[in-house]
């Protein structure tokens, strides 16, 4: 695991650092602490990360600029902030968890567990997906998204207007964030449940999802049962 802590209060940064080391143990490859926004942006751009722990209020700056950059990346973001009233907005941006200050080790552990999907994310509020497009961050409303196709380490987002966008997060990570409105129907597909029109069964127990748009997507053998119970 490569973890970045963005926090301008040194005592709190040390606390997070200590707890993170305790929790991840040997699986931790690198742990970096940065206390300004600009340095954090540069670091994210130039390094491969698995998790970012972010304070939204850095030196009086609004952390949402950094947040939208962070959530467009391949790693998960966990917010650790004193301002609970920012939690809703942060979840809408698609963060994995929001840990309010003051926090103890248990609460941090709970957040980390979500990284490995040991625990379901409480985030049923993701409304936006941030994507990087021509060097800029663009926010796509979840409402405009029909399904997601995994393509190696990144994903393709199929939108209602027929266009396709790329996202740096893996299908597994997006599944964690979109858990409540989307269903994994195949190892390569994540589909919005509302978009499903019918499920077709063909010979040789081949299952296909027919979307409202007319698209046909395959259903994995192991996923069929789950999908049927949820969809009906």
């Amino acid at each position: 695991m490569n973890i970045l802590i963005v926090e301008d209060e040194s005592r709190i940064a040390k606390r997070i650092e200590r707890m993170t080391r305790d929790l991840f143990g040997n699986s931790l490859q690198s742990l970096t602490h940065i206390n300004t926004l600009n340095e954090a942006l540069a670091f994210i751009e130039n390094n491969t990360l698995d998790l970012v722990l972010l304070d939204l209020n850095l030196n009086g700056d609004d952390g949402f600029d950094l947040l939208s950059t962070a959530v467009a990346e391949s790693f998960h973001t966990i917010i650790i902030s004193a301002n609970k009233d920012q939690a809703l907005a942060a979840f809408e941006y698609g963060v994995l968890d929001f840990v309010p200050k003051p926090f103890n080790q248990d609460r941090l552990e709970q957040a980390f567990n979500r990284v490995f999907t040991k625990e379901k994310s409480e985030n049923d509020q993701t409304k936006l997906l941030a994507i990087k497009k021509r060097g800029r961050i663009q926010l796509i409303p979840i409402a405009d998204l029909r399904y997601v196709k995994g393509a190696g380490s990144y994903t393709e987002l199929y939108l209602t207007d027929g266009t396709t966008e790329l996202h740096d997060k893996s299908l597994e990570k997006l599944e964690q964030l979109l858990l409540h409105t989307f269903e994994r129907i195949h190892k390569s597909y994540l589909v919005k449940i509302d978009e499903i029109k019918e499920i077709k069964v063909s010979s040789g127990s081949k299952y296909t999802v027919v979307l409202k748009s007319g698209d046909l997507l395959p259903i994995g053998r192991t996923k069929y049962k789950d999908l049927k119970t949820k969809w009906v």
Binding site: S10, R11, R15, N35, T36, L37, A82, P100
Partner: protein
């Protein structure tokens, strides 16, 4: 308020018009013919039948208080009703005996003996005419007079004949109405004087109060003649006093309007106006009526000009005041000079009152606003310690300290308690001693040291511990300094507070010695913190302060100047 005043003025107008119609609109019962004069003294000159064709129509001067006679032919147009009698009201300069058709009906002073005896008699008198002599037809009113004090004022008579009882009652009614009118002005004057005394900066209130008082005094002086006996000798003094009051009113009313509707070159125009008024007041000797008219007309025209300027500039209230001025012209055209003068003055004062009411309303709103503002500032001050960014970060650090070193944790809690305590002490103040403010900054630094693990220090230079400053102003600058700075290489951030005092201003310079933050963070400096500081400074110093915030080589420089 607007509505009330608007509906009030027509009411007053109607009231005054009713008053003017109630007195003496009954048809005349007599006709005054020519008056002739003769120097000398002869009892037969009182007789009804006497050939006075060779008497003078006019005598310029009676020498040395000598006795002279006047004979006036009066036609009674209608005999008095049964059991009623006519009265004769006369207003003449001199001491005299009065004969009706040869019969002595009254004596006013001691004609011919004025130089020896003390002044006696009144300027305005009413005598009853015997009923049997007041029959329809021609009669002779003869006066045996002497005019010791004004030998050149011969024949300044005014005569009124009407039902004796009506004459006296009408006088009483008119006088009582005018006294009620005057009383209203007295009360208003006292009320606004008290208002002024409670807020001595409000000069329009004082001017309005003085105007009201002058009108009260004017009305009282003019209409007290019916019950206060005045000898003809002192009449000029009375007229001079009346005109002086009028001079004051004529100057103050336009002056008041100029304060409400300011225009360029006010001083110059008022010096000119004052000169014109004093000129009118001084010239023309005893032509008091002319003076009165000139002064009132100047006052009206000057006020009209100013209010018209106010309307042109679209100033608040100017239209309504202009309307009252125009209304006073309507009253002038519709009634006599005396009535229109008091009605007009009443209307104009009503317009002034309306402007004052607007002012008072503004002041009240401004006051309420400051109350709301200071409550908001108090809340903001209290919020500093419970706003989540401060409190939750502090608590998180505290948890960590407690877990790591309970002893340090306790010290941290003590520092926190101290800051909370200081905040509680200053919560209700608008100004606190600078020493208290510095103590607040120092505890805050102590807390931040536990949180940020940076060596903070605060230096003072030239501080006068007696000086006062709005609470948490420096504290806010310090917070900004902490938030927006990075430590120097030796992991320290230094603050320095310098105080300088000159004749014109007191100056606090608050310096931050720290590493520069990258570009792009400056825009946020003008945040809620600075808004709080500015609001606090305005609360205590109005506009007499100046705050600059700028980047410097060493970090940041805030300069706060408070002008005296």
């Amino acid at each position: 308020m607007k509505l009330n005043l608007r509906s009030l003025s027509p009411l007053l107008l109607i009231g005054i018009l009713m008053l003017s119609t109630s007195c003496g609109q009954t048809p005349e019962v007599f006709k005054e013919q020519r008056t002739v004069f003769q120097i000398g003294d002869n009892p037969t000159w009182a007789k009804k039948v006497f050939n006075d064709s060779n008497w003078e129509r006019r005598i310029k001067r009676i020498p040395e208080g000598k006795i002279f006679w006047s004979r006036t032919r009066i036609d009674i147009l209608k005999s008095p009703e049964e059991l009623r009698s006519y009265g004769l009201q006369i207003d003449a300069y001199g001491e005299y005996e009065i004969f009706w058709d040869g019969m002595l009906i009254g004596k006013n002073g001691n004609p011919g003996q004025e130089s020896e005896l003390p002044p006696e008699g009144e300027l305005w008198v009413t005598y009853s005419i015997p009923t049997h002599l007041a029959t329809e037809g021609a009669h002779i009113l003869a006066l045996r007079l002497s005019n010791y004090y004004f030998p050149d004022h011969v024949g300044y008579y005014e005569i009124e004949i009407a039902d004796y009882k009506d004459l006296l009652t009408d006088l009483l009614i008119k006088t009582s109405y005018m006294h009620v009118f005057a009383g209203a002005f007295l009360i208003v004057s006292i009320y606004f004087l008290f208002l002024f005394l409670s807020n001595r900066k409000e000069y329009p209130t004082l001017i309005f109060s003085v105007c009201c008082f002058l009108i009260f005094a004017l009305v009282l002086l003019v209409f007290s003649k019916d019950y206060v006996s005045i000898h003809y000798r002192t009449h000029v003094i009375r007229l001079q006093i009346i005109n002086s009051f009028l001079l004051g009113i004529s100057f103050l009313i336009p002056y008041y309007f100029s304060m409400q509707f300011p225009y360029p070159r006010r001083r110059l125009s008022f010096i000119l106006y004052g000169v014109i008024l004093i000129f009118v007041w001084l010239i023309n000797g005893h032509a008091f009526n002319l003076k009165t008219v000139s002064m009132v007309l100047s006052m009206w025209s000057f006020s009209f000009g100013m209010v018209a300027y106010g309307v042109y500039k679209n100033l608040r209230g100017a239209r309504i005041v202009l309307a009252t001025l125009l209304l006073s012209v309507v009253v002038f055209l519709a009634s006599g000079f005396v009535i229109s003068m008091y009605t007009g003055l009443g209307l104009i004062l009503l317009g002034m009152l309306y402007l004052l009411a607007l002012n008072i309303k503004d002041q009240r709103l401004a006051y309420e606003n400051t109350l709301v503002q200071s409550t908001r500032l108090r809340l903001e001050l209290l919020k500093k310690n419970i706003q989540p960014h401060f409190l939750m970060n502090t608590l998180t650090s505290l948890m960590d300290w407690v877990e790591e070193s309970p002893k340090k944790g306790v010290q941290f809690i003590e520092a926190l308690a101290k800051e909370f305590d200081l905040f509680n002490k200053i919560e209700n103040e608008t100004l606190i001693p600078i020493s208290q403010e510095i103590a607040l900054c120092r505890t805050h630094l102590e807390i931040m040291e536990y949180r940020k693990e940076i060596d903070y220090s605060l230096e003072e230079e030239g501080i006068d511990p007696e000086e006062k400053i709005p609470p948490a102003v420096l504290h806010t600058l310090l917070e900004n300094g902490i938030t927006h700075s990075l430590p120097l290489e030796d992991n320290s951030i230094k603050f320095k507070l310098i105080f300088e005092s000159t004749r014109e201003y007191k100056c606090y310079t608050f310096l931050t010695f720290a590493a520069c933050m990258e570009q792009g963070t400056e825009t946020n400096v003008e945040g809620t913190g600075l808004k709080y500081i500015k609001a606090r400074l305005t609360e205590s110093y109005g506009s007499k302060w100046d705050l600059t915030s700028e980047q410097a080589d060493h970090g940041w420089r805030n300069t706060l100047k408070i002008y005296s």
